[in-house]
């Protein structure tokens, strides 16, 4: 294809599982330049393949694996891809990023994206190579963990294949099931359930199709310099301690969600801190494919075991949020989520919600109490297989609270159905806005507004309309990083992040793109996600926080008294909508401009 930009194949693959047919479709150069790749290109593709309002767990619902122009380049942290679909948890757009050799092998199949629709008659494995698309039975691996299934499929197909697969939670349509690949996970929003609803256990990819670079020599020099910087002080926190080192900081600032957001400090946080666990547990380090930072810190419960990758989010969600202080319980719960294919944040959030319901007598679950580690582990098993109370909790905290009723909706910890990550919104009020307006729900990866709260630019306990432009900047930056795709932990190494992104895109694709044009691209991507949601039934009342956060102040500790009212949040949201150029209640003026 003569006008295909460097860094791209200029085409994507559409596979229909129902007919077992596939077709290759062209991706026009202007679409690629306007949407880049990953999350941006995926949103455009999702719009093309979702002509009307759909149920995400039906055959029509498209599941996308989207690559990017930077994959395969020597740029550090670029081996990432986006998995996208309408989320069964939120009923809104969902893009979940992951990082592994699957990204590199997937792009080497010769496609910039893979779109999967339909439903296989029986459990299937989809196998994609440059010149062939075929299907094999997955009967023998159905029921296995994603890792076990991937291992068996690789033994059968050969080591050149890289596998994305679901575990039991995806098979049982748990609304926050993950898709795993090489031990990493496309975690949020239940894309594993979308895959399970298609009877698709695994996608296996391999290939040899390479893309070209516009300025190879300069790209290699730039990449070497970037790798060198990635060894420097800006990323030392991630290398030496990992994201888990947020725990004591957040606890000290009174912003660590505890016992289903009833408190913002956890008295036993020290026990779970990496500073303590590094003494009590063996620890090793690892990294994603093509990453020079290596932020993965793997803790071992017993010497010689394969260990558990701990990040702040799984530590907070399966620890303080559930009132659990025993490190081994948190490590085991985390390993179990990986094995079963569960998003740790939503699993922890939903179980913490159920613990509060049980303690208040709203559900009959005598063992489900904050701090009961055995109950946590048992509930993870139950919900992954939809057994007993697990069937209700597999729906996520929003739907579960609607069934439980009795006021429990007020403290179900979600926005648009997506459980909140480990940032207490009453004490980080720019982040509160980011959560409320997020197109995929409460999310710290699509809005980095916590960065604003952790600065001298705002008072984190007192939201003002002036803060919204800062929140928008972090959202735009995330939209670009998720489309190029680069790891956000690289952020600190750049003096001017947007200029750096423009430079990297130029070296790979040859586009003469400046910061202003990148800003426009970011706005286009954010608008396109909003437009998708509007077409799928979004209404302004979804952009809010659970009542608890708007009616109750933080009761005690360092942030005692911190409060956010409904009126304040509404004012912030309106200021945000207007700053985005939307109507005050959040509709896009011109739907077509986002398409």
């Amino acid at each position: 294809m003569s006008d295909t930009p460097h860094g791209y194949h200029g085409r994507y693959l559409h596979v229909d599982l129902s007919t077992q047919r596939s077709v290759v479709r062209e991706l026009p150069a202007d679409v690629l330049q306007q949407h880049i790749g990953g999350s941006g290109l995926g949103t455009w593709l999702l719009q093309q393949h979702t002509p009307h309002e759909i149920d995400p767990l039906t055959p029509d619902s498209p599941l996308l694996f989207v690559f990017s122009p930077l994959i395969g380049s020597p740029l550090t942290t670029s081996a990432k891809f986006a998995v996208m679909a309408k989320s069964p948890l939120t009923q809104r757009i969902n893009d979940s990023l992951s990082s592994s050799h699957f990204a590199i092998a997937g792009k080497k199949t010769g496609h910039d994206a893979i779109v999967i629709t339909g439903h296989a008659d029986s459990p299937a494995c989809l196998i994609i190579e440059p010149e062939s698309v075929r299907f094999e039975s997955a009967d023998d691996v159905w029921g296995l963990s994603s890792q076990q299934a991937a291992n068996q499929i690789r033994i059968r197909l050969g080591k050149q294949f890289h596998i994305a697969s679901i575990g039991p939670a995806g098979e049982h349509l748990v609304r926050y099931a993950t898709i795993s690949n090489d031990g990493r996970h496309a975690g949020r929003g239940g894309l594993g359930a979308v895959m399970g609803s298609k009877n698709l256990k695994a996608v296996a990819v391999t290939g040899d199709r390479l893309t070209t670079y516009a300025h190879s020599d300069e790209l290699i020099a730039y990449s070497k310099d970037l790798s060198r910087k990635s060894f420097g002080p800006a990323t030392a926190k991630y290398r030496e301690l990992g994201t888990v080192s947020n725990l004591l900081t957040f606890n000290r600032l009174g912003t660590l969600p505890t016992r289903n957001f009833q408190q913002s400090e956890f008295a036993e946080a020290e026990r779970l801190a990496p500073e303590t666990m590094s003494v009590t547990h063996d620890r090793t380090r690892a990294s994603c494919a093509a990453c020079t930072i290596g932020c993965e810190h793997i803790f071992h419960v017993s010497p010689g075991d394969k260990g558990v990758r701990m990040e702040y989010e799984n530590l907070f969600a399966l620890g303080p949020l559930c009132g659990i202080s025993h490190p081994d319980t948190v490590l085991c719960a985390s390993a179990l989520c990986d094995e079963l294919g569960l998003d740790t944040i939503s699993a922890g959030g939903t179980i913490a919600f159920a613990m509060e319901c049980a303690e208040r007598g709203l559900i009959d679950a005598p063992d489900l109490r904050f701090g009961n580690g055995d109950a946590l582990l048992q509930t993870l098993h139950l919900l992954a297989h939809r057994e007993g109370l697990g069937d209700l909790l597999a729906e996520g905290s929003r739907l579960a609270s609607q069934q439980i009723g009795q006021g429990s909706e007020d403290f179900a910890p979600h926005v648009k159905g997506l459980e909140l990550p480990g940032y207490e919104p009453r004490t980080l009020q720019t982040m509160a806005l980011g959560f409320a307006v997020g197109t995929r729900g409460a999310d710290h990866n699509r809005s980095g507004a916590y960065q604003v709260d952790f600065s001298d630019k705002v008072d984190r306990l007192l939201a003002t309309p002036g803060d919204v432009t800062l929140a928008i900047e972090t959202e735009n930056e995330a939209a670009l990083m998720d489309s190029l795709i680069l790891c956000k932990f690289l952020r600190g190494v750049f003096d001017d992040r947007l200029a750096a992104m423009a430079e990297m895109l130029h070296l790979v694709t040859g586009w003469d793109i400046d910061v202003a044009e990148l800003q426009e691209t970011a706005t286009r991507i954010v608008n396109a996600k909003k437009d998708y949601n509007i077409r799928q039934g979004w209404t302004p009342d979804e952009d809010t926080l659970p009542k608890r956060f708007l009616t109750q102040a933080i009761p005690n500790g360092e942030s005692a008294g911190a409060a956010l009212t409904e009126e304040t949040l509404k004012r912030q949201i309106e200021a945000y909508n207007l700053a985005r150029g939307w109507t005050p209640d959040g509709y896009i003026f011109d739907h077509e401009s986002a398409s």
Binding site: P233, A234, A236, K237, Y238, E240, L241, T243, S245, N246, L248, T249, F250, R252, L253, G254, E275, E311, Y312, E313, F316, P421, G422, Y423, H444, G448, Y450, Q451, F454, S455, D456, D459, R460, L461, K488, F489, R491, G492, E558, S559
Partner: protein, 87 residues
């Protein structure tokens, strides 16, 4: 004027202590005192008398500060944290 400096994450690792009491009346003088008491921490965290951009200073767990002239009160807690708190 006695204040307590608390270190978190990498700043704690570099300081080798979780906290220390010092006399200082501004953020700037606090950094100067820390530089003489904890040279390894200063090497890693300070640049020309200011915190490197991978670190943040916070007073009493409320206000983030970036000005050497910012006054401190007796009994204040100065927290030194990582600037990037992505999870």
């Amino acid at each position: 004027m006695s204040i307590t400096v608390e270190f978190f994450g990498l700043a704690r690792k570099r300081a080798g202590v979780a906290s220390i009491e010092i006399d200082a009346h501004t953020i700037g003088t606090a950094f100067d005192v820390l530089e003489s008491l904890l040279p390894k921490w200063a090497d890693a965290c300070l640049d020309d008398g200011h915190l490197k951009r991978s670190f943040l200073a916070n007073v009493n767990s409320r206000t983030f500060v970036n000005d050497r002239n910012q006054p401190l009160q007796d009994g204040d807690h100065l927290l030194i944290l990582a600037a990037d708190v992505g999870g």
